[in-house]
Symmetry: C2
Subunit: 272 residues, 2 copies
């Protein structure tokens, strides 16, 4: 099912600024037993993104209600919410009053060939770099050509993720995931002040570790430093947490910290 501004439709106007300029934001949410997981956190991020881009955010009550409508009678799926600035304005200049467009659509949950959560995955470093822009950093916006170019770099099905660097060769994130590493029992994740998406699962992991007196340090890190980590994992709202057992030509074992965080995340998900 697709709901566009509350109506069951499949199409949007060509003049929508989401198509014309990528002028909008999105959320990708796991759905289990008709329930969008961590929906409140996703909607808060969407609202925050709208504030930063000065897009009128639909009311969170309305989005919650429509999300539940779209997800009813669903065992396991992916809910995507897109909010664009709508139509209007003159060229790049946004209209003074914008009627944003909201699109809620349900998609099959992706099937992965093996249990990547348990056995871990292999990743490469992408050649495509992420541009730096503090005005857009952190946002899950609709300008995703860098991720598309990064994800286009491999077709080998034994590779599940590509790790992207910025123009100064610092590690930022995966094409579709955030990145954590553990070194000497300390937890790290890249700083996202210049590039990258502040993921919901990333935020949950940082909160969990913080309340357990093991705060995650954000850091600028090179490829070499990452490859010297004890444990490395990637995460997002759909895949959960995938340990990295190989990155480029370096192998990692799946350590106790990664297993512990996977366990916490699973508990939080089942608590709703």
């Amino acid at each position: 099912m697709i709901l566009i501004n509350g109506d069951r439709k499949q199409h949007i106007e060509v003049t929508d600024r989401g198509l014309q300029y990528g002028d909008g934001l999105f959320e990708t949410i796991e759905v289990t037993d008709s329930t969008p997981v961590f929906l409140d956190l996703h909607l808060k991020r969407l609202q925050h993104g709208c504030q930063r881009l000065n897009i009128t955010c639909p009311s969170l009550e309305l989005l919650t209600s429509e999300a539940r409508q779209v997800c009813q009678n669903t065992t396991h799926a992916v809910l995507k919410i897109i909010v664009t600035r709508g139509t209007g304005g003159r060229g790049y200049k946004p209209p003074e009053i914008s009627n944003s467009t909201r699109i809620l659509s349900l998609h099959p949950y992706p099937t992965y060939p093996t249990d990547f959560k348990l056995a871990g995955i292999s990743a490469i470093f992408c050649k495509t770099r992420l541009g730096s822009n503090p005005a857009l950093a952190g946002l899950k916006h609709l300008n995703r050509l860098e991720q598309i170019l990064g994800r286009s770099e491999w077709n080998d099905e034994s590779i599940q993720e590509g790790i992207m660097l910025d123009n100064q060769d610092y590690v930022i994130e995966g094409t579709m995931s955030n990145l954590f590493w553990i070194k000497d029992d300390q937890f790290f994740t890249p700083s996202l002040l210049q590039s990258g998406v502040c993921g919901i699962i990333r935020g949950i992991i940082m909160d969990q570790l913080s309340t357990r007196n093991s705060p995650v340090m954000t850091k600028r890190i090179t490829q070499e430093e990452l490859l010297s980590a004890d444990e490395v994992f990637v995460c997002n709202s759909i895949i959960g947490i995938w340990p990295l057992t190989r990155l480029a030509s370096t192998t990692f074992s799946i350590g106790p910290h990664t297993r512990q965080i996977q366990s916490w995340l699973q508990q939080l998900k089942t608590q709703g």
Copy 2:
């Protein structure tokens, strides 16, 4: 009139990657007397952009034919051509075979309150920076949030353009235009290897000056250097060439070189 893949329609599928990720390119073309001006150059740039993003480009014969169809019986207007990667793929990963979407739409020619070509315009420096990414630099792609944020910085109708810098504080271009400056009878324009759009009018101006033994030098330039220029102008396919008579708090006179280039461009346009 709007033609989508050859049919008269107003809507596209929500699943189109143009909306989902800004996964596409566009051209904005002046139309005079039913003729899209410099159409061949625009289509060649579109084809080149498709090659760089690995998007299947519609045949140029087909695009030419549809452009003429959309523009018939038009005195003065703007033709916009969008080509997206179409639907499909898994997440960011493009489908192995993509059926691109082509959208041709006609828009009113924008009316400007005074004759900016003759009298010049005022511009500011934008605070929003352009990210650097050689993989995307030069392309007129659909990821335009930086330009939207730049253009959102002013509402003052006495300001007609905002000049954007990159993260290293080098001047790149206007929010909707390319930039040239003249100093001691030499012609300059910013290098677009890291950011910016390689405009059609920019290319024409560089060709014209080159054939007249006054090649344009591409250069990395700071705000201060730009403000010390003798003449400054911006250009694009819709506005033509607008001299800058004020940038931030610095004033410029409209010099003979700018007038000469305006004259050449006008001749080329009327020659078709």
